[in-house]
Amino acid sequence: MSALPDDELPPNMTVASRAAVYLRSGGFVAPLITVLVAFLAGGLVVLATGHNPIETYQAIFKGTGFNWVFPWLSEDDRTIAALALQQTLITTTPLILTGLAVAFAFRCGLFNIGGQGQYIVGSILAVWVGSSFDGMPALLHIVVAILAGILSGAAWAGIAGLLKAVTGTNEVITTIMLNWIAIWVGVWLFGLGGPLQNDDPTRVDVPVSNDVLAGAKLPVFWGDAQLQGLHIGIFIALAALVVFWVLLNRTTLGYEVRAVGFSPDAAEASGINVRRNYILVMAICGAFAGLGGALDVMGWQFRIATNDIPANQLAFFGIAVALLGRNTAIGTLLGALLFAGLINGTSTRNLDPSVFEPQLATNLTYMIQGLVVLLISTDVLVVYLLRLRRRRRTQAVAA
C-alpha cells in the first residue's frame, strides 16, 4: 500500500525521501520496467549506430559468462564462459557491498554518495595490513586485514554521520568531499616517495603499494588462482546481504533506522535518538563499502597503483544497484549481478568485436546505469504507478 495520501507527491521532497517513496510503491515490477526501458533506450542507440540490438545484447550476455549455466555449451565455450563468469562474480562482490552502503543509508533517509571514498579507505588499510605483518598465521591475517578494511570504512563514513548529527551538514556534500580526500590521500600514500609506496628495489620507480602477502590473500575456489579466479569474497558479500537484512528487519537498531527513514520528526517525538542513528547508520554504510575495498585488494588485485584509485567507478554503480534493488537485500543482489554482468559483458575482453565495438559498448553500460538512476530519481515510473494504483482503488471503491 502506498504510504502517501491520494493527492500529488509533496513538492519539497529530498532525493532520499523520493527514493523512499519509490521503495514503497510498485513491488518488483517498477525496477523491472525501469531496467527494461533503460535497455530499450540502449537498444535504440545501438540501432542508431547501425548495429543489431538483439545480437548486441546476446553478445553482451555471452560476455557476462552467465551462459555458463546452459548445459548445451561445448567444452571450449564452457571454459571461456567460466572465465567470463568468474570475472563477473568478482565484480559482483564489491558491487553488492557498495550497493548495501547506499541502500542502508537510504533506509534511514540519508543519501550516501561516499561509497567510493569508503571503498578506497577500506582498500588502503587492507592492503597495508595485508602486505605487512609477515609471518602472521594466514587465517588471522585475513581476518585482521578484513577488519581493518571494515573499521576504516566505518570511521571514514562516520565523519559524515557525525557532521550531520552535530552540525546538520548535508551528508551528500560531506560524503562527496570525503571521496576526494580519500582519492588524493591514496594517491599520495602510494605515490613516489609516499609513506606506503612499495619497498621492492626492482619497483622503486613505480607508484604502487606493496603486494598483499600470500597468507593474506583470499583463497580462490574456482579457476586459476594466478589468473584471477573467483575468490571466496563473494560468500562474504552474500553474508553481508544477510547481515543487512537481519540488521534492518530483526533488530531494534533496524526498527529505529526505518522509523527515522520514514520521518525523522516522528521518530524523534517517539523517543528515538535520531542523531545517534545518523552516526551509526553512516558508520555501518562505510563498513560495507570498506569491506568491499578490502575484499577486492585481498581477493584479486593484491596491490594498489596510484593511477587505479581515481579510475575506480564501482561505488557509483553501487548507487544504481541500491536504487534499482529498492534498498532491499535481494534487490541489491540482483542489481549487483545485473551491473557486474553489464560491466564485464561490455568490456573489450568479453564482447565479440564483430558484433559491436567494445569501445562503444562500454559507454552503453554507463548509459544504462545513468538511465536507471535517472528514471528512478525523476519519479516517472513512481508517479505512473501511483496513479495506476489510485485509479484502480477508486474503481474498486466505485464498484
Binding site: V29, V37, L40, L47, L83, P207, N307, D308, S354
Partner: protein, 348 residues
C-alpha cells in the same frame, strides 16, 4: 497486496515494449547489416591479439602505433586480429589470459607496465606465442620460452631531439630544456636521459629540468608540469608520457615555446611541434606478427630496434626545427655508424 489485474496490466505493457523492440529489429539486418566476416581465407589465418596498457587506444602515441602495426598486418598479411583495451592495472592478467585461452597464435602486450602480468600468464600457456613491447623477456622472473621481448633504444631518439633542443636554446641565447615524463620507468627514462645528454652535447650551457606526472592517460597533470617548467624558463618541452603528454604539448602551444612529441610523429598537433622522437612500435609489431606467420618467431629472446635499423629516429620538423636538419642528420649518422655509443640510459 499485489492485485492480479494490476499485474496483468503491467505485464501487457511490458510485452508491448518487447514486441515493439522486436518489430524494429526485424528490418535491421536488411538495412545496416554487419558484414559478418565469417572466415573465408584461403589458408588458415593466424590469430593475433593485442593488449593495450592503460594509456588506451587513442593515446596518439604508443598504443595507437601498436594498433597501426596490427592493422597493417591485418591488411597485408591477412591475419585475424583483436584488440583488448586495459582500463586498470588489474586488467592485464585477464586480458592476456583471455586471448591465450581463445587460442590466439600470438598475443602482444604493449608496454612495460605489463611485465609482471606477462610473467604470470606466459608460462601458463606454453603453446601460445607472446610478445611484449619495452620489456626484456630474458629478464622476466619465470623465464618464459614462448615470450619475445621487443626493445627500443629510446635514448638514441631522445639524444637526437635533445641535440636539436640544445641547438635551439643556444640560438635563443640560453635557457632551459624541459622534459615531462609519465612514470619513471625504463623506457621513459631512456628517452629523457638521451634527451638531456643531447641537450648538453649541443649546448653545454643549457640547463635541463625534468618531472614526472605519474600518469599516462590524463592530460591535465602533464600540462601543469609543463607550465611550471615554462615558468622556470623552459624554451623546449619534451613530452614522454603518452596521452598525458599531449597536455604538455598543449602548454607549449599556449606559451609559445617549442614542443617535442614522442613515439609517434606528433607534428599534426600544431606549429609548436619542433619535432618528434620516433619509436616505430608499428614496425616492431608488424615484424613480430610476420615472424610468427613465417615460423621464425623466437621466444625467450629480445629483438632490439635502434637508429641503425631505422625504427628509432626523429619525425617531421617545423620551421624552427628545419634549420638544424643537417646537424641532426650528422649526429644520426654518428649513432648509426657506431661512432657515438655512450648515450646514457638512466636519468641521474
Amino acid at each position: 497486496m499485489r492485485r492480479p489485474l494490476h499485474f496483468i496490466a503491467l505485464l501487457a505493457m511490458l510485452c508491448s515494449f518487447f514486441v515493439a523492440a522486436c518489430g524494429s529489429d526485424e528490418e535491421e539486418p536488411a538495412t545496416g547489416g554487419s558484414p559478418s566476416a565469417e572466415e573465408t581465407p584461403a589458408k588458415e589465418a593466424i590469430k593475433v591479439g593485442l593488449v593495450t596498457d592503460i594509456g588506451g587506444l587513442n593515446d596518439r602515441s604508443f598504443n595507437q602505433l601498436a594498433n597501426e602495426g596490427l592493422e597493417r598486418a591485418k591488411s597485408e598479411l591477412g591475419v585475424e586480429t583483436r584488440v583488448l583495451i586495459s582500463k586498470a592495472n588489474s586488467d592485464y592478467v585477464p586480458n592476456l589470459s583471455t586471448l591465450a585461452q581463445q587460442q590466439y597464435d600470438l598475443v602482444i602486450g604493449v608496454g612495460f607496465l605489463m611485465a609482471e602480468a606477462m610473467n604470470t600468464v606466459a608460462p601458463k600457456f606454453p603453446k601460445t606465442n607472446f610478445a611484449i613491447i619495452d620489456v626484456d623477456a630474458t629478464g622476466l622472473e619465470s623465464k618464459p620460452t614462448n615470450t619475445a621481448g621487443v626493445l627500443f633504444k629510446e635514448n638514441e631518439a631522445g639524444y637526437l631531439v635533445g641535440y636539436m633542443a640544445g641547438l635551439y636554446i643556444k640560438d635563443e641565447g640560453g635557457g632551459t630544456a624541459s622534459s615531462v615524463g609519465g612514470q619513471k620507468i625504463p623506457p621513459v627514462d631512456a628517452y629523457i636521459a638521451g634527451y638531456q645528454a643531447g641537450v648538453k652535447a649541443a649546448n653545454p650551457d643549457a640547463k635541463v629540468v625534468n618531472g614526472y606526472s605519474q600518469k599516462f592517460d590524463d592530460p591535465a597533470p602533464c600540462k601543469e608540469l609543463a607550465l611550471d617548467h615554462i615558468a622556470q624558463g623552459a624554451k623546449v618541452v619534451f613530452q614522454v608520457a603518452g596521452g598525458c603528454g599531449l597536455g604538455a604539448l598543449d602548454a607549449a602551444k599556449e606559451k609559445g615555446v617549442q614542443g617535442i612529441g614522442v613515439d609517434a610523429d606528433q607534428a599534426y598537433l600544431g606549429d609548436q611541434i619542433m619535432t618528434s622522437a620516433l619509436k616505430k612500435v608499428d614496425v616492431a609489431v608488424y615484424d613480430e606478427i610476420k615472424a610468427v606467420q613465417d615460423g621464425t618467431f623466437k621466444g625467450g629472446a629480445n629483438t632490439i630496434f635502434d637508429v641503425k635499423s631505422g625504427a628509432v629516429g626523429i619525425g617531421e620538423t617545423n620551421e624552427v626545427g628545419a634549420k638544424y636538419a643537417d646537424q641532426i642528420k650528422a649526429e644520426q649518422e654518428k649513432i648509426a655508424s657506431g661512432e657515438l655509443t655512450d648515450i646514457p640510459n638512466t636519468v641521474k
